[in-house]
């Protein structure tokens, strides 16, 4: 996936997750990134930094 596409996807998942109650975020992340653990890690890192 190109860099901009990847960024856009990380942004979408990060923002969606941030709107959810804390207890639901991990499940949402797993559902969104089930087949892309690198994506999951990027979203987690973004969330940690934010």
């Amino acid at each position: 996936m190109a860099s901009m596409e990847r960024y856009t996807e990380v942004k979408r998942i990060f923002l969606e997750a941030s709107r959810l109650p804390r207890g639901e975020r991990t499940r949402y992340l797993h559902a969104q990134c089930a087949e892309d653990q690198q994506m999951a890690a990027q979203v987690r890192r973004t969330a940690d930094a934010g």
């Binding site: 860099s3 901009m4 960024y7 856009t8 942004k11 990060f14 923002l15 941030s18 990027q42 890192r45 973004t46 969330a47 940690d48 930094a49 934010g50």
Partner: protein, 191 residues
């Protein structure tokens, strides 16, 4: 700033409000020159030990350059949008010229006092921030501009939204993402 230049700046701001951007580059140069001279005068040779507020410098330029009796809030917002870009240029140019790539870039700590300012970015490395913003603009130009408007220009969410032609919630999302992305990037972990 001479009176004719102030009249010119006020005139161009009025044109921007009316949707005519043809002379926006002229305003940018006027603002840049004013900011550069004022920043140098304010901070002086001992500035390394002082705290710089970019938004205060932009505000000072506004007061010097624009006849407020002829400009409404929209004009003020347009001016601050230009000022945000120009103060970034002034500060980065200065840091590069001085070769001070370390924290603060020779301007001491950049004080970030907006309400929703990320607390972890106080005392930011100016050149690293500039470089990171360039990288961010490659993948999310609007979010990078949101940071510039809020961080360097001090624009509030609603004003940034008006400048960009998007909703306030879009600006809020861009800011949230950009803040996290920049922190990650500047910590050297971004992939």
């Amino acid at each position: 700033m001479t009176e004719p230049q102030a009249q010119e700046a006020t005139q161009i701001v009025g044109e921007l409000v009316a949707g005519d951007r043809r002379r926006a580059p002229e305003l940018a140069e006027l603002v840049y020159d004013n900011l550069r001279r004022y920043a140098a005068a304010v901070m002086g040779p001992e500035r390394g030990a002082r705290t710089l507020q970019p938004t205060a410098l932009v505000n000072e330029a506004y007061l010097r350059l624009v006849d407020q009796s002829r400009v409404d809030w929209q004009g003020r917002t347009h001016f601050f949008a230009v000022g945000a870009e120009m103060i970034r240029r002034v500060l980065v140019d200065d840091a590069r010229r001085r070769g001070t790539a370390k924290r603060g870039g020779g301007w001491g700590k950049l004080e970030l006092d907006q309400d929703d300012e990320p607390s972890g970015m106080t005392g930011v490395d100016l050149l690293a921030l500039d470089e990171s913003l360039r990288k961010l603009s490659e993948v999310d130009a609007r979010a990078a501009r949101v940071v510039e408007l809020k961080f360097f220009g001090g624009l509030k969410e609603a004003d940034a939204a008006a400048v960009l032609g998007v909703s306030a919630s879009t600006v809020r999302d861009d800011w949230k993402m950009a803040r996290a992305w920049l922190r990650d990037e500047m910590s050297g972990r971004a992939g």
